[in-house]
C-alpha cells in the first residue's frame, strides 16, 4: 500500500521534472538531445538527454518497461525494425546526427555494435559467426587477414582458448555463456567504437555472468560500452556512470558510486534500496 502511494505521488512529480545529476561529461562520445520515442500512441521515452563519455561503461537501470532498452536501441537505430516506433530528437556520434533520415544505418551499426539479451549466434560455424561482420564490411583483404581478425576477436572476448580446436563447429553448440561471449566477439570483429549491451547476462548462470562482466571490464579500455541491466549489483560492479530510468524519464544520472551510495532523487533511492522495481 505504502509503495503504491509512493509511485502515484511521484509519477505526477516526474512528468515535468528535470534529470537530477550531471548529464554532461568532459569528453563525450555520444550526445543524445531531447529524445522522445513513441510506440504508436504510447510514449515510451520522454525528453531524455544524456552524454556518453569516451571509454566509459554507462549502466542503465530501472524497472521493467521504463524505456531503458528502447533508449539503447535508439543509439544504433535498431528501433527502425519496429514499424510503429517513432524516434524524435538528436543523437550525435562524431558530430553526425545518427537519427537523421539520411544517415546510412549500415556503417552506423558497424560503429555501434550490439549484444542482445538472449545469445543469438548465427546457425553457422563459430568461425563464420565472427567472420561475417568483417566480410560484409570488407575489413579483410584476404583469408589470412580474416583469420587474424577472427582469432583476435575471440581472444578479446576470452573465448579463443575454449574454442580454438573447434572453430568449424556450429556456434549454437556452445554453452549459453560461451554463446554470449561469441556474440560479443562477433560485435568486436567489426571494430566498433561503441558496444551496446541489452541485459547481456539475464539468460546466463552466475559463473558465466562473472566471465562476461570481467570481459566488459577489460573491453572498456578500447570501447565505449552502454549496458542495460536489471541487476543493480552488476551495474555497480561494471560501470563508471549509472543512469536511472523511470517510466520513460531519465530520473538521475551520475557516477555509479554516488548513485548507489547517495542518490539524490527519491525515486532512485526507492529503487536501489529495493522498495519497488
Amino acid at each position: 500500500m505504502k509503495n503504491n502511494n509512493l509511485i502515484i505521488e511521484t509519477e505526477s512529480q516526474i512528468n515535468n521534472s528535470e534529470t537530477v545529476g550531471d548529464i554532461h561529461v568532459k569528453d563525450p562520445r555520444i550526445i543524445a538531445k531531447n529524445i522522445n520515442v513513441h510506440y504508436g500512441e504510447k510514449q515510451a521515452i520522454n525528453n531524455v538527454s544524456i552524454d556518453i563519455g569516451k571509454n566509459e561503461v554507462l549502466a542503465m537501470i530501472g524497472p521493467s518497461g521504463c524505456g531503458k532498452s528502447t533508449f539503447l536501441r535508439c543509439l544504433n537505430r535498431m528501433n527502425d525494425t519496429i514499424e510503429s516506433c517513432v524516434v524524435k530528437g538528436e543523437i550525435y556520434l562524431d558530430n553526425e546526427n545518427i537519427l537523421d533520415k539520411k544517415t546510412d544505418v549500415v556503417p552506423l551499426r558497424a560503429k555501434v555494435g550490439m549484444v542482445f539479451q538472449k545469445p543469438n549466434p548465427f546457425p553457422k560455424s563459430i568461425y563464420e559467426n565472427v567472420a561475417y561482420g568483417p566480410k560484409i564490411h570488407g575489413l579483410a583483404k584476404n583469408k589470412i587477414e580474416l583469420d587474424e581478425i577472427v582469432v583476435n576477436s575471440l581472444e578479446k572476448a576470452g573465448l579463443f582458448n575454449e574454442v580454438k580446436d573447434r572453430l568449424d563447429e556450429p556456434g549454437t553448440s556452445l554453452s549459453g555463456g560461451q554463446q554470449q561471449r561469441l556474440c560479443i566477439a562477433r560485435s568486436i570483429a567489426v571494430s566498433p567504437e561503441v558496444i551496446l549491451m541489452d541485459e547481456p547476462c539475464s539468460a546466463l548462470d552466475p559463473i558465466a555472468t562473472a566471465k562476461v562482466e570481467e570481459l566488459i571490464y577489460e573491453l572498456k579500455e578500447n570501447f565505449t560500452i552502454v549496458i542495460v541491466t536489471h541487476a543493480m549489483q552488476q551495474a555497480a560492479r561494471v560501470s563508471q556512470r549509472t543512469a536511472y530510468f523511470h517510466l520513460g524519464n531519465l530520473v538521475e544520472v551520475g557516477p555509479t558510486q554516488k548513485i548507489f551510495t547517495t542518490p539524490q532523487h527519491k525515486l532512485t533511492e526507492s529503487y536501489i534500496t529495493g522498495r519497488f522495481g
Binding site: 525494425t81 552506423l108 558497424a110 555494435g113 538472449k118 548465427f122 561475417y132 561482420g133
Partner: protein, 419 residues
C-alpha cells in the same frame, strides 16, 4: 484418487483411439497397394513368339540395290505370313490364314523393318526372331483367359488355342520383361502401348512448373514476409487472396489457363509447356504459404544479430533468414510439385487428354501426363489395358515416393548443414 483414475483411463482411451485409427489407415493403404500390385504386376511382362524369318531377297530387295529407300517400301508382312505358313503347313484357306496371322501383333512388320534397317546384311538369310504376340494371346499366356471355358465364352477360339498349344510345346512362345511398356507411347493395341510418352509429358510439365513456381513463389514469400510494409491495405488484400487461391478447385485453374494461355495468347493446345504453366498457377499458393511459414519460424533474433553487426536488411534476410528457412521452403515446393504431378483436371481442360502415340521430343509437342494416361487406359475395356492401368499407377506412385523422399532427404541434409 478417483479423479486420477479417470484421468488415466481417459489417457489410455485416447491412446487406443490413436492406435486404432493408424491401424485402419495402414490396413486401407495395404489394401490399396495389394489390389494395384496384384492387378498390375503382370503388365511388366510381355509375350513374344519366335518366328523363323526368311529375309527373302526376292521380296524385300528384288533389284539387289541394298538401297534402304527401296527396301523400306517392301512388304514385310509377307515375310511373316511365309514364316507362319511354314510353321503351320496344315492351315489352309484365306480366313483361317488371316486368323493365324492375327496371333502375331501387327507391330511385328515394323519390328522386322527396323531390324533390316539396322542389319542390312541379313537380306537373303534365315533369322530366328522374337516378335510380339497379339494382346489376346498375351492375356491367355498370362492366365487372364480361362482355357477351360466353353469356346463361345472366351476371346481365343479352339483353333487359336490349338496353335498356341503347339507353339508352347515347341517352346516358341515365351514371356519376356516388358520393354515395350517403358519405351513406347500410347497405342490402340494394348500390347504395343507404353508409359514413356506420358512420363516424358509429365516430366516436361513438371519442370516447367518447377522453373516457374519455385522462384516466383519463394520471391513472393520472402517479399511478403520480410519486406512488404505491414498494415498496408493492398498487401493485406494480396495475402487474403493468396490464401483463397490455395483453396480454389484445380479445374478452375484449367479454365483460367484455357481462357488466358490458349484463347488470349494463342498458345498451342495439348502441350506440356501450357500444362506446366497451368500447374504452376495451381502450385504457387501452396509454395507461397509453406515458404512463408518456414520464414516465420526463423527466430527473429538471428535477423537482429545480423542487423546488429551492420548487415543491411537484404543481407540479413538472404545471408541468415533464407538459409535457415530453405529446407522448409523446399519441402513445400516438392509437396506442391507432387500435388501437381497427380493433378489431371486442369490438364484435361487444356487438351492434354488426347490420344498421342508419339513420344514428345520438346515442350511444345502434344503430350499427355501420367494421371491422364491412367484415366485414358482405365476408360478402355480391353483386358490388356486393365493391367496396364495398374502398372501406370505403380509408375506414378514410384515417381511420387521418389519425390517425397527427395524432399525428406533435402530437408535432412540442409538441416544438418545449418546445425
Amino acid at each position: 484418487m478417483n479423479n486420477l483414475k479417470s484421468r488415466l483411463a481417459k489417457e489410455k482411451r485416447f491412446k487406443l483411439y490413436g492406435i486404432a485409427s493408424i491401424t485402419l489407415a495402414l490396413f486401407l493403404l495395404t489394401l490399396l497397394f495389394v489390389s494395384i500390385f496384384s492387378q498390375g504386376y503382370t503388365a511388366f511382362q510381355e509375350t513374344k513368339i519366335q518366328l523363323n524369318i526368311n529375309f527373302d531377297e526376292k521380296i524385300i530387295d528384288p533389284t539387289k540395290t541394298k538401297d534402304w529407300e527401296i527396301i523400306k517400301k517392301s512388304n514385310f508382312n509377307l515375310l511373316i505370313k511365309n514364316s507362319i505358313s511354314e510353321l503351320f503347313p496344315e492351315v489352309s484357306g484365306r480366313s483361317k490364314k488371316r486368323k493365324l496371322k492375327k496371333i502375331i501383333s501387327n507391330s511385328a512388320e515394323y519390328q522386322l523393318r527396323d531390324y533390316v534397317k539396322n542389319n542390312i546384311e541379313v537380306i537373303g538369310t534365315n533369322q530366328k526372331i522374337w516378335v510380339l504376340a497379339d494382346d489376346d494371346v498375351d492375356m491367355l499366356i498370362k492366365g487372364h483367359i480361362n482355357r477351360a471355358l466353353p469356346e463361345n465364352e472366351r476371346r481365343i477360339d479352339n483353333d487359336e488355342l490349338k496353335w498356341i498349344k503347339f507353339l508352347e510345346s515347341k517352346k516358341l512362345i515365351k514371356k519376356f520383361f516388358n520393354k515395350t511398356f517403358f519405351t513406347s507411347g500410347d497405342s490402340s493395341e494394348s500390347e504395343q502401348s507404353g508409359i514413356l510418352g506420358a512420363f516424358i509429358g509429365s516430366l516436361f510439365a513438371l519442370s516447367i512448373t518447377l522453373i516457374l513456381s519455385f522462384p516466383i513463389g519463394i520471391a513472393t514469400a520472402i517479399y511478403l514476409e520480410e519486406f512488404a510494409p505491414k498494415n498496408n491495405k493492398l498487401i493485406d488484400f494480396v495475402e487474403v487472396n493468396i490464401n483463397n487461391l490455395a483453396a480454389v478447385p484445380s479445374i478452375i485453374f484449367g479454365l483460367l489457363g484455357l481462357a488466358i494461355f490458349l484463347n488470349f495468347f494463342g498458345m498451342p493446345r495439348s502441350v506440356p509447356l501450357v500444362g506446366g504453366m497451368v500447374l504452376s498457377l495451381m502450385t504457387l499458393p501452396t509454395i507461397i504459404i509453406s515458404s512463408r511459414a518456414a520464414l516465420k519460424s526463423v527466430p527473429p533474433s538471428i535477423k537482429e544479430g545480423a542487423l546488429g553487426v551492420g548487415a543491411s536488411k537484404i543481407q540479413a534476410v538472404f545471408h541468415h533468414v533464407v538459409p535457415v528457412a530453405l529446407p522448409g521452403m523446399m519441402t513445400g515446393t516438392i509437396i506442391g510439385l507432387a500435388q501437381a504431378l497427380g493433378e489431371s483436371a486442369p490438364l484435361l481442360i487444356i487438351g492434354m487428354v488426347a490420344f498421342i502415340v508419339d513420344i514428345p521430343q520438346t515442350m511444345t509437342d502434344p503430350a499427355t501426363a501420367l494421371p491422364i494416361q491412367i484415366y485414358l487406359w482405365a476408360d478402355t475395356p480391353e483386358r490388356g489395358f486393365v493391367e496396364r492401368t495398374s502398372a501406370a499407377i505403380m509408375v506414378l506412385l514410384v515417381f511420387l515416393i521418389f519425390m517425397n523422399s527427395a524432399a525428406v532427404y533435402l530437408r535432412k541434409k540442409f538441416e544438418k548443414d545449418i546445425g
